[in-house]
Symmetry: C2
Amino acid sequence: MKNVLLLALAILTIEFGLAQQAPVDYVNPFIGTSNYGATNPGAIAPRGMASVSPFNVAGRIDLNPLEKDSQWLSNPYVYENKFLTGFSHVNLSGVGCPDLGVIISMPTTGALKTNHLEYGSTYSNEIAKAGYYSAELTKYNIKAEATASTRVGVSRYSFPAGESNILLNLGLGLTNEQGGMLKIVSPNEVEGIRTVGSFCYNNPEAAYPVYFVAKFSEPAHEFGAWKTPYKYEGEEAQWMIYNGKTRIKEGFTREVIGDSIGAFFSYNFEQPTQVEVKIGVSYVSIENARENLEQEAGQASFDEVYKKTRDKWNEKLNRIEVEGGSEDDKIIFYTALYHTQIHPNILNDVNGEYPEVSTGKIGKTEGTRYTVFSLWDTYRNYHQLMSLVYPEEQIQMVNSMLAMYDENGWLPKWELNSTETFTMVGDPAAVVISDTYLRGLTDFDVEKAYEAMIKSATVTENNPLRPGLTEYLKNGYLSVDSGVPGPVSITLEYNISDYAIAQLAKALGKEDDYKMFSDRSLSYRNLYNPKTGFLQPKHINGEWYNPFNPEAGANFEKNVGYIEGNAWQYLFMVPHDIEGLKKLMGGAEAFDRKLDLVFDGGHYDMANEPDILYPYLYNYIEDSEYKTSAKVTELIKKYCKNSPDGLPGNDDTGTMSAWVVYSMMGFYPVIPANPIYTFTEPVFDMVKINLNTQYYKKKSIIIDFRSLNDTNPTIDFPTTLKQGFFIHHNAFLKSD
Amino acid sequence: MKNVLLLALAILTIEFGLAQQAPVDYVNPFIGTSNYGATNPGAIAPRGMASVSPFNVAGRIDLNPLEKDSQWLSNPYVYENKFLTGFSHVNLSGVGCPDLGVIISMPTTGALKTNHLEYGSTYSNEIAKAGYYSAELTKYNIKAEATASTRVGVSRYSFPAGESNILLNLGLGLTNEQGGMLKIVSPNEVEGIRTVGSFCYNNPEAAYPVYFVAKFSEPAHEFGAWKTPYKYEGEEAQWMIYNGKTRIKEGFTREVIGDSIGAFFSYNFEQPTQVEVKIGVSYVSIENARENLEQEAGQASFDEVYKKTRDKWNEKLNRIEVEGGSEDDKIIFYTALYHTQIHPNILNDVNGEYPEVSTGKIGKTEGTRYTVFSLWDTYRNYHQLMSLVYPEEQIQMVNSMLAMYDENGWLPKWELNSTETFTMVGDPAAVVISDTYLRGLTDFDVEKAYEAMIKSATVTENNPLRPGLTEYLKNGYLSVDSGVPGPVSITLEYNISDYAIAQLAKALGKEDDYKMFSDRSLSYRNLYNPKTGFLQPKHINGEWYNPFNPEAGANFEKNVGYIEGNAWQYLFMVPHDIEGLKKLMGGAEAFDRKLDLVFDGGHYDMANEPDILYPYLYNYIEDSEYKTSAKVTELIKKYCKNSPDGLPGNDDTGTMSAWVVYSMMGFYPVIPANPIYTFTEPVFDMVKINLNTQYYKKKSIIIDFRSLNDTNPTIDFPTTLKQGFFIHHNAFLKSD
């Protein structure tokens, strides 16, 4: 009954706006903006293509200790930085490499300055909510507010009386790609293109354009463009008194092209005035950017756009209702859920068009084309969460991956705006798709998906997904001689993918494949060195690689054998063969001891993916199940906070947040492509997941942990429309 | 009768093609390609917007002694250079500063190279005709041929069997502006934009785009774009292994933007194959460039385009028929006439659209919008020649100037593609327009024209045409203290403009203005120093500037007082007050003596405009008239040759060539805005000018110099439809 009341309350709060109880009010977008969480507090709609992030990572290292060009920095905003140079309109959240962070608007007052080092400002009174950000720019006495619809960033600048400017800087950006074009269409409109790409300093050949149209509610009194050319170094420099200097192109309405260009719109207000700036974006064309702008925000005011986006957020977040826990717990929880709703994001324009992968063609979707698939991260828990809470999205994500296969001939690995960044390792798409199917979301072309998986799992020539496959097939592992970095990690990843393929094969009645891929999935065992008790790098001739130091490779140091981790952090990354690993180690007790050693010896890294399943592995050791709850509770307390450093590390496009959401709810999907959850002690007394009845037979799952003192807590597992998939495995209660 | 026969013959030769007698066959486009003539041998249609010039001024200073970045170089091609890096598609001819020379195509064979220093080639067997150029590329065994319609450059590359490439380099260019965008539309089409501008290292703020569409007769087997970014110098450079390196974007069909970009189209021919490349250009938009291409050359073959352009050239050149003279004389003459038909060139697209001056708007003309008005040069003789031989064009040029006034509020000074370059000095548009009217071409809005002239002649605040006007009006001269460079030159120029305005005022019945401007036109007399016998720079307080050296400033050296010249070269630049100057000097004899001193003392500079009238001034000295013929004949012999160094210097957009055309025909317009011709001994026995009967009462002027032995040669002066304008002044016969 109380649950029903909560739901009713939630609906009421949505209806009437801003009451504290609405899930949307528990979102604190500053969480993750420090400690390399790589999130940003910008305004964004759920899975928005556009967002408006404060951009405070450029220049003035005295004010911005985390300056974008002085280090490897992945985000447009860092909480501890202080010098703001505008608001970027396409942004990535929780990624490990710099890209996007472009189309930067900035309000200023007084004489026109076009160099961000000159026009940048400190700021105060920051406010960030789901779909809203505001700050006051100290230097200018301007209040800057931002909101966004899916494809349009909307800002409201409250200017004092007098001379003011709105700058649109196409030179500045987080990406290291250069090249922009702009064209001022009228005193209140400018359109253009910005080149972005080479995510992770990879694949710069694929650098691609993002298009935009910006409209201003007030026509400018004066406008123009600027361009700062590179310094010319030939003989002719002597006659070029303007060499390398910024040119102000007043009233210029033709295309301006260059690496460092921008547009300015200047005003002279008789009284304090608000100007709304709407910037529509597209990855297809300027025309589509304009259509996106018009369709989503053409007639709407800032407040109307914000209201709609806030409602959308609340609707999204309200899929999970919680009771109990502290105020901070709720904020941590709903912010984590919020962070799972940023990537993968929508790539298609309102008219359905999107850039295809590799073909250069413009595709068209009836549904949603998603992008930003950081699959090495997200295959572990993220898509499982989406299948449960947002199945309608997960199905579209699978369909997007299959469309990429149609376009490209390969499933994605780390796809970003229809470019394959070839970042990270393994063949994770197979896992995600199998897992989705096996959880009962079968409404996609599974035969095509299977074909695509088999291709990546078997083609040994020019296979972009599985380098080193020949060795893997022959010897069961990648050797240090393979030329592929991280052969131990990759062997494990291929094993997990093969396991996933096997599970799907089984479900599809392909018994031979099931057998073959099941066998393949266990080949990691070749890398277990009983003398050291680790999975170790090996030569192609079967000899162990020397020297071996299980600690080498912590903190993202490069090392032979492992990717983003060391031997400790990969040892237990065998979710599909826990029993087998136990045996290799000499039994459950040895397994338990070694797992303890990871934590007690300080080898556990909460900030990266390979070992995030570790605390849940205790559930698989009889009589040690209690350690799961203890460890998960401890980790949440230690790493998950209602503060900018409130994520353990990079959010990894929501993977860390998915861990938080699951862990706070009290269960976790340890084994990819195996629809089994294992449990832990939850943070909340009661969790209610409102299910999408188009996919699930029941309307909700209610997990009432106030019945914890019972020996059998009442957990009412749902089933999908197609097949059951919730299987109770062990229990957190064993510790009592 | 013989003349009629000649005409008939000429028509016959046009009809039947390539007989040697056609005027078009006397064009040698290599004339002026050395000795800083600044012409190019590229293929161009009369007054073409597009042209296809071999581009041999980039890099390899061992092969290209006149390298574009190593000095002040104004042209895409220099005869003595040897290293060709492609064919540029928008080019200037006979100008004094580098600009345009962009959209560069290049055929190569073998593996793809995108750096012009690597793919450039020497060449042999150059052929250049009106509307045609070809050469064989030594490195590749490719024959490259070029022709052009008005707005489309058309090339034909004859490739050997095997791997071949067509490159379109948007980075390379003669202009010092940077920034291009390209988009491959299909395996045989690419479109794009290139930034050009800052002519004479001036006004870089106005740098503007030129648009193009390139189509290939054969679809490429492989295509793509390249981009060479600037070297990144931040911390991040360590992770950018591609830093500063060229990226090959195979199959890329989105916008590529940057300073150094290009597109490639690669083939693998089983047998020797010809590929035709059509590149349409526009200063309005890519769409217009495409329409220009389709309308002018969409369906036509290379040969058809060339045939049409050749016919157009012949029609143009056939306006003047000559008899007598040597073969070289005819080549020199028709090439000079050809060079007068390059600039001003057509700016409007086939649909009539063109970029307006300053407004940023797109204008539309029913007639022709001309551009490239190097008026400081051309007011002296060029437009007079156009009024006589091509009145239909001269009227459109005046209308173009008036349209600029409508758009910009000012008449042009040195207009280039609707940007005002503010190059050179004086107020020459007033002279050109008055002269045109007074020669009887009155079919334009003369009241508007008069208003525009008065504005530039009287407005003292923010007057871009007449800096220093306040001093000029007050003291009759610009002083060395005015802050305006070249005050003596400018005083003389303003005097000439004022004289022109006075003449027009008189014709329009504005007696007061006539009186005032007539008075103003004589104020140069303030600068005559009777002690030295020179027009000298003066202080504002009336004292002579010291030191004074009449030779300082020769050879384009900077000096106090004069622009591009010295006291000798400006002393007689008073065409409107020859009698007054005589008086100042102490009479005709002193005038004669001083004029002799110019020539005998080596002070005469045939390569620049201020003194090009000097040899004709002898006609104004009784009993010295013979010296005009002697001097002109000598100068033609010395400077005008059928060879690359066959122009005395920079062609100055046809001004030098107009001097050659007039001088070889035997008459010259000494006094701007005064429709008087003076005569000299002609090179030809007979000249027949076929007049445009829409403007002239007679069908032709026949100047039959075979009657030289008569005391009254039969020269049948034409009159326009509106009024007579040919007045016989003195005679070259006095020498006999």
